[in-house]
Amino acid sequence: MGGGLGGRLVPKARDRKWWWPSDAYDAGQKGVWLHLQDKSTVFQDAAATIPADYGDVIGCILDKSGNGWHATQTNEPQKPIYTLGADGFAYAYFDGVDDCLDIGVVDLSHTSQIAIALGMNKRVDAQGFVLELGNYNTDPGSFAVAHSLGNFANWRTWGRGASGSPSANIVQSAPDRAGFSSEIDLAQPRVEMVRTKGGSATSAAATGGGTFSSTLNLRIGRRNANSNASALDLYGLVLTDYIPDDITKSRYWARARAGEA
């Protein structure tokens, strides 16, 4: 990986008055922060040596959280396309066929809580997975965010504890470009999904407790089993190993990155 990737790439909170995702990792918290409008973090190759311009394939998006959990792809056909929309918002175009990015094994075994903010657009209502840690259907300590299940017009977040896998479901047809947040607490248990434009859902069904896994792969744009690719435009992602007191900040950051109308 290129030099200096372990450092934080933006000023800390004391230099600014407004919230910024770097604030979410100020105390060394684990997580991933991807920011597609920051062109300096997008590369054509997985080793992050060839900068990407709009229209190029994406082989790496650097994680700006400081954790080094970069999103990469080594198979050329599976690289998403770095795209600048007509309205000036940059995103990663996942083709809904085979495009995906792997963050690799992420160790979240110290926590039962995660929060995810996503700026994204589903282009069509064909079932696809935005994120999956492991296999949400079988692996304890896994989670997933998906859309259009069974070609139904929805968004859904799952969290799987030691036994159960509750999910929160928002009905919304494609195309749908917005900011989202998902909160999962396997210990409570609780799974919540909120769409900035309106719509929210919460499930408190049993998870069996436990923490997230230390051994599972985190993938963007497709399931880990190479199925269910998403026709997705990804503008930004903030994942933290805790549920913030005010998740609206990260959700509104994601909303702004997506240029939600």
Binding site: G55, V57, T74, N75, E76, P77, Q78, K79, I81, D95, G96, V97, D98, R123, V124, Q127, A146, L149, G150, N151, F152, N154, N226, S227, N228, A229, A231
Partner: protein, 117 residues
Amino acid sequence: MAKSCVLVIPASLQASANQISQLMGWGDNAYSVELGATRTGAVTHYGLRTQTSDTFIDLLTGPMPQALADGGYPPAVYDDVMNNLAASLRDASEAEGHFQDAIAALGLVVVEDLLDE
């Protein structure tokens, strides 16, 4: 001019096609989408979709690339893959739906679970 390219290979040749892709520097699992006659049936083919250029057609129709010849790749295996490879190219601006159209023309669909509604 950027092109959207769909390639489909019979399942029996997936390993060879992936090996060729790897030797060409395209990664070790290029053909990764499971295809078959029905959504829940047997996997008979594997496919990919990628963005490429006009000159890619030369690769598909020309002789075995020098990089493979230099590496001692068996010409008979290369010919077997290329003779059984189905390809479809479109302008990249028409990429949406290209894969589905291309595999439908071959009588194939993506093999995957239809998850709950």
